[in-house]
Amino acid sequence: MGLNRHMDTIAVIGVGSTPYARDLQSSHLALGLEAAVNAIRDAGIDKQQVDGICGSGMTPLAQGGAGFLSLQGSLGIDRVTWGLNSWLGSAFVHGAGAVAAGLCDTMLVVQTYQREISMSRSAAADPYRQKLQQFIEVGSDIGGGDFAKRWLHSGEPYAAWMRRYMHDYGVNKDAFAYMAMNNRSHGSRNPAAAMQVPITLDDYHNSRMIWEPMQMLDMDVPVDCAEAHIITTAERARDLDVKPVYIHAMSLGGTRIGEFYENSLGWTENSHWAAAQGLWDRSEIRLPDVDVFYPYDGYTIDAVGCVEAVGYCQPGECGEFLKSSWDDAGNILKLNGKTQVTTHGGGLALGRAGGANFYSEAVRQLRGNEGARQVEGAKTALINIGSFFHDPSAVMLRAD
């Protein structure tokens, strides 16, 4: 594995989450701090051991948020040798990469999310959320003025891709529906999930149309929440009183689509395919060895893209594949009769966290202490988080 110089030498030793709810009456920073404190305590380390911080957000100096500067100051961490903000699939990989590169020893990754004013009428009526949006938008003309710039960082092209996917492959919405049903079934078994009630095929098809053909139940649930992870070297992890979960291989991905998403390349050329190829070039664990699978579900078509990109089925065959993988007894997916998918409910049920909660769940499953939700014998987890257009990750985790 010439490309993979860090195989199994980096480990996740701490996981921390906040509750998930529509309105926690908390700032991004407060959410991030709660998750960070939980993760540091979970790892059982002193906060001064943290010497790298990957904060939350798209801009390095984002104020009012859970950026690395605010986190370090608020947590009272005296010195770090690495800091950056990131999001989606990238944050975890950037953090792990910095440890692998020797730029720091103990990384804190924090990702925070809030229900934004564009996501619901009640959110739009909240003066704190209005104020947040006012300053998030400074310095950007996304969605303003020129209709032609509407798909700069927009969810709408995912809806267009759903239609194009069905058109090109001559398929119906089964792939999206089965993914949504799976995630909501798992959510109904996760006490933390914002959505506790499973859904049927009819519920899926009858849900409100948002961006045709994308419906309400294709979209993750906007909530207030945060996730945090502590990552260090496998060597250090062995000295701690935690079961390490090793990063076996990881990759990010990018294509030449650029920032105007109407320039999408073909279905099999979006960024998930680039990240998946990057992973398979670096992993000795192969797809048949994966025990639990975590495809990001910001929209159901994200997850469908991940299923196909990592190679569970051929492009366009996901609907058929998921239907044949449906386990009636559990009302969940078992890929090839075995691999469970998004065992915490993901964004569609637990809540929208930009995929950060997929990493958390994978680590907890591989530690083997998920109680009633534990997948028996789970030793390997494949995680694919991110956008068709930017910041996708493909990460293989393993436990002893």
Binding site: D146, F147, R150, W151, A160, M209, F260, N263
Partner: protein, 152 residues
Amino acid sequence: MPGNYGPLDDAHVFELYPDIQLSRDNIEHYRGLAQGRLLINRCHDCHHWIYPHRPMCPECWSWNVKPEEISGQGHIFMFTLLYQLRDPKSMIHEPVPVAAVELMEQKGLRYLSRIVDCAPEDITHDMPVRLTWLEEGDHLWPAFAPMPGSTG
């Protein structure tokens, strides 16, 4: 011919588009819009069309990039119908189409646009369309309509 923009100086373009992040890479495009011309950058060495507005050719790395008026013909590559806008306060009563129009000048050269003169339910993938213009207040904005003779 690119380069002849009449009396519209930079200050005027800035005044016309206060919400757009105008730069030296895109101002000719907006100067064109103001005059009802849809201009897309083109490499004058290898003739590659370049969109969005970028200063260097991604194919040959030439900086000899100039805006050119496109023919206005293309087809719908993909589209969605918006039943709910990003702004929850803004009500819509019928779906708003948003389409990535692939311009005939080059494979993969796409412009995001409104679709007019066509019922939303009649829009289809690969449908031939042509450029038209919408007047909104002081502005002309591009839109695409079904090519005469195609369904729509």
